[in-house]
């Protein structure tokens, strides 16, 4: 079975400060990892993914994520937060061999204060 843990229900950060949204995963074999963002009353939007190769992945809107295989983590980061980054963030995983569906974490609400 595969699973995703997002240990923080909410992350608060001041505008201009760096932000981190944590994600750890469990999967048999090697993973494909994804981050999605959901704005109020909208569907999920793809931010970035890790497939293979460089552990630091860059995505949309200045976000990046670091894959750490030994810690089974894929934390989302941004050097300087914007108020407009306030949203619900989901981490998701599937294994990279055979067939498996995508498993989502429960989501982390990011609140950026002015």
């Amino acid at each position: 079975a595969q699973s995703v843990a997002q240990p923080e229900d909410q992350v608060n950060v001041a505008e201009g400060n760096p932000l981190t949204v944590k994600c750890t995963y469990s999967v048999s074999g090697n993973p494909y990892l994804f981050w999605y963002v959901q704005y109020p009353n909208r569907g999920l939007q793809f931010l970035l993914k890790y497939i293979t190769g460089d552990n630091l992945v860059k995505g949309s809107y200045g976000f990046e994520a670091e894959f750490n295989k030994s810690q089974t983590s894929f934390h989302l980061k941004k050097p300087s937060a914007l108020v407009s980054d306030s949203a619900l963030y989901f981490c998701a995983v599937r294994r990279n061999s055979g067939y498996s569906t995508l498993t989502f974490g429960k989501g982390t609400m990011l609140l950026v204060s002015p």
Partner: protein, 114 residues
């Protein structure tokens, strides 16, 4: 470019009634998915489809029925709605079978069962 659309966006129904949620995509993506989003659970997969006339169960399929007679449409039917099916439902699509490709989500349908 309409992308992926869902209708209705909001629906209120009563226990025991049949409800159909519609999903339409204009990209000719082969894979389509239905998720439900509930507080504390994140997104959970209900059903998915690899192509027209090919569907399979996800994590929480009980009480739901799907069909896919055309590539672009993937309706979800609640045959006899229950209060526990009150949720926000998201349809998603993926271009092909390569599981490292991201999913694209519709705007969601908020369903309330009284």
């Amino acid at each position: 470019d309409a992308g992926i659309t869902q209708s209705p966006r909001y629906k209120i129904t009563e226990t025991g009634r049949q409800v159909t949620l519609m999903c339409h995509q204009t990209w000719s993506h082969s894979y389509m998915f239905w998720y439900r989003q509930d507080l504390g659970h994140g997104l959970r997969l209900i059903y998915y489809s690899a192509a027209a006339d090919i569907t399979d169960k996800g994590e929480v399929p009980d009480g739901y029925v799907v069909s896919r007679s055309k590539t672009e449409n993937f309706p979800l039917t609640l045959e006899s709605a229950t209060r526990s099916q009150t949720s926000v439902y998201f349809c998603a699509s993926r271009v092909d079978s390569r599981s490292y490709n991201e999913q694209f989500f519709g705007p969601g349908t908020r369903l309330t069962v009284l």
